[in-house]
């Protein structure tokens, strides 16, 4: 995989929040965490650009395509906002990043069913988890510019998740039994991918010193717990309400080709 330079210093320096005094060890941990977030958020923009292209190709209404393009722009803005925190912590909003991978085309199914898989994974799974995580982190922060910045990001993520659930709700009822079965199979793969992605970024057995939550540093065990709670208490029941066998898909996520 090739890499490229992501340089958001110009935008980020315009957006720097006031951070205040922070002890050096904590500052470094916070700086690297927010740099990671900058990369992660900015890297999500091509995902939404790709979704927009696939939605358009599938003949979905133009306003939904436009909404998806707006979400891509929002992810770029989030990258700059996270970079602004890096700058406020004395770092530089600049990093070497992997070049974006294309979205899977799912050529084994019709375009609408294919893009539904991707929307399910991106919006209904990942972004719904993100809403819970960001809201929890925000609530642990004291009032201030950093919390305001996080609130702004959260507002957009709410929109991204809602988009996915709306789209799912409009497409799934028209699927025949075979298509639902195929979606259930994909859901198992998507759950496995979600879990792997989340856990690889949430250290399991670490706690930061008191006050770390003020800078967006999370308690790994608590974050993992919230992730699983979001899956079990929100995502799975809601997908079941849409007629998808989500509980079985989650339980089978570690067994290949079993669902």
């Amino acid at each position: 995989m090739t890499s490229m330079l992501l340089d958001l210093t110009a935008e980020a320096r315009q957006l720097r929040p006031s951070i205040g005094d922070i002890e050096p060890a904590l500052r470094e941990a916070a700086r690297r965490t927010w740099l990671g977030r900058m990369i992660n958020e900015h890297g999500s923009a091509p995902v939404f650009d790709g979704l927009a292209r696939q939605l358009e190709a599938a003949g979905v209404a133009a306003d939904l395509v436009a909404e998806c393009r707006t979400m891509a722009e929002e992810e770029r803005t989030h990258g700059a906002l996270c970079g602004a925190v890096v700058e406020a912590l004395g770092g530089e909003a600049r990093a070497e990043v992997d070049t974006p991978r294309p979205l899977p085309e799912h050529r084994d199914v019709a375009p609408l069913e294919g893009v539904l898989r991707n929307v399910l994974s991106v919006c209904c799974l990942s972004e719904t988890v993100a809403v819970a995580q960001i809201d929890a982190e925000r609530l642990e922060m004291p009032e201030g510019e950093l919390r305001e910045l996080l609130t702004r990001i959260l507002a957009d993520e709410v929109g991204h998740a809602r988009f996915g659930w709306r789209f799912l709700g409009s497409v799934v009822p028209a699927l025949d039994a075979a298509a639902r079965a195929r979606l259930a199979t994909y859901l198992r793969v998507a759950f496995a991918s979600l879990e792997q992605h989340e856990l690889s970024r949430i250290p399991a057995r670490t706690t930061f010193p008191p006050g770390a939550a003020s800078y967006g540093l999370c308690d790994g065990a608590a974050a993992r717990g919230l992730f699983y709670a979001t899956v079990h208490e929100v995502i799975v029941p809601r997908l079941e309400q849409h007629g998808l066998p989500a509980r079985a898909a989650w339980e089978a996520r570690r067994s290949r080709r079993a669902a």
């Binding site: 965490t33 974006p100 609530l139 793969v189 991918s193 992605h197 717990g225 799975v236 029941p237």
Partner: protein
């Protein structure tokens, strides 16, 4: 606000965004049950009958200040750390080394927000 209450509110926000008008009214609520924080094996699903049935209203909004009438019970998975990486948080180099040992992608951030590229079925077949 305790971490328990924070997580309950965060789950309500997530439940609110997942609500769509197309669902039948009798099934349009996701019930956020008692705090089940912790690693997956001990986490129980709750889709309609938790003992602390705090039903998510369709009008709930993420970050809203809706009341949370849950009992306090802070603790859970947010408790004390254990294991070899438990005491390294004041020393960034030690923390980074610990992450390396455990294969944690700390450079990607403590919590991954932005969605990654979705998987394909073919990816599973070659894994």
């Amino acid at each position: 606000m305790t971490r328990f209450e924070i997580h309950r509110r965060a789950l309500r926000a997530a439940a609110a965004v997942s609500l769509t008008l197309g669902l039948a009214a009798c099934a349009s609520n996701v019930v956020v049950g008692p705090d089940s924080d912790g690693d997956e094996p001990n986490t129980t699903a709750s889709s309609g009958g938790g003992s602390d049935s705090s039903t998510v209203a369709s009008t709930a909004s993420a970050g809203g200040d809706g009341s949370t009438s849950v009992a306090t019970g802070a603790g859970g998975a947010g408790g004390a750390a254990a294991g070899p990486c438990a005491d390294v948080m004041h020393d960034w180099q030690a923390y980074a080394a610990c992450c390396d040992e455990n294969g944690w992608a700390v450079e990607a951030g403590c919590v991954a927000w932005g969605p990654p590229v979705p998987p394909s079925l073919e990816m599973e077949e070659v894994a």
